[in-house]
Amino acid sequence: MASCSITSLGSEVGRADTIGRMAESIAARISASAPAPRVVRPRHAVVVRATHWITSLAFFALLVTGVEILLSHPRFYWGEIGNVNTAPLFQLPIPSSRDTVPTGYDYVLPDQNGWSRYLHFQSAWVLVWTGLIYVVYGFLNGHFWRNLFPDRAELSLKGLSSALAQHLRFRWPGEEAQSYNAVQRLTYLLVIFVLFPLAVWTGVAMSPAVGSAIPSAVTVLGGQQSARTIHFFVSVLLAIFLLVHVVMVYVTGFRRRMMAMITGRTKGQA
């Protein structure tokens, strides 16, 4: 319920040494000279947890409906226009839900675009509002500084290469890891501040109405079909992120990390 519990740091240290050290390091990040009693924050604040799961649901819906919409024309182009009479940039080797698209398959999938488009845009609104709440919270509350912006040491070549090397050797910091390393921080920042905004921008740039109000939103991308193609690649990157993210949660302690993102608490914390 409450997003943070106030306990005395001393009792935490007494209970588990590692947790105590974790709390100290978090407290040190919050403030260099915090007076006792200090605040031990939950692993994830309630706003982070709520926006995480709402975004997860919205993103899942966007992914499924996005694939459905894609099936009606699995060809991609660059520039302003493209259709079955023009040469594609590339075509996905999948069947289509329209018999006007030459796919090489002798069957046509059922048309699911109607509800898919309704749900795609509704989920996009949920994602946009949730994302805005999360970003405003992250800046006001210090979440980004505390958890996501890497410090200078982590950003150094040595810090980055050692974090990357650990990742590539599948060597995890262990159960007690309570903070993100530089690779994680940079990945999350890329997803939050580059990929999701780009997905929304390229999605909106496909709208003829938005193009009439803000033509430059389309032209700087290279045209409406370029926007569609970039939208596809950004979505693929986001889907890859989702896959890696879920695999990492699974291999580094599924139950513990799920509980941390659901209840905010990890084992040993009040």
């Binding site: 894609l70 302003e80 009479n85 488009r117 509704q122 609104w125 109405a209 938005v210």
Partner: protein, 252 residues
Amino acid sequence: MRNISRRRLIATSLAASAAAGGLTTAAKLAKRYGLIPPDAGGVYGPGETLTYAVQRLLTRHSLAREFSRSQISKDPFANEVVPLGVAFDRLQAGGFADWRVAVDGMVARPGSLSLAEIKSFPSRRQITLVACEEGWSYIAEWIGVPLCHILDVAGAFPQARYVLYRSIQPDWWESIDMADALHPQTLVAYGMNGVDLPVPFGGPLRLRVPRQLGYKSVKYITSLTVTDSLKQFGKGLGSASPEGGYAWYAGI
């Protein structure tokens, strides 16, 4: 159970009631200013309303992008063309001389216009992009009469809120709000790339609504109905599209 501070409880309930109040006020304002689409009922209503309301506020007077002559597609795609029926074939055999468009509803001078009469009105030509909801597109030059001129000639009442239009193809009818109906780029088009509009592209007459996706640009137009409510047409969802599962508003 941990403590929930009184201050936190009060702040949360204040925020919740402010949000609820804000949403109610927003819904009332949206209704007052005609920002709720006719297919706003059902689970996708909130998303549709947000999209329509935001785009309407953003685009009331904005002009669709126009392109240079060199950008006109050499191979435009007409989409699949189904047989249009005996009535169409007879009109086509007569060079569409007998093609007529009924104009009725909330107008001072209801009646019907022949193709020749429509071609005698002041015309507008524009090079715009047709984007299909499926993902493909092409650019063409369109020649036609701005719909607002026909509404002027017929004397549309100021209470009018929508213009509904039907194709000679049964079950293909659409409607647009007055922001699009009175928009200078919304054409009753009879020409494409310098020639009479070819039949596969909607000839002799189609609507062109360049700020919305292709399915709003109905081909083979036979009637225009001016109305202040869409409730009495079909299932009351605004057009055939929502009845087939597609959104009424296609600005996105």
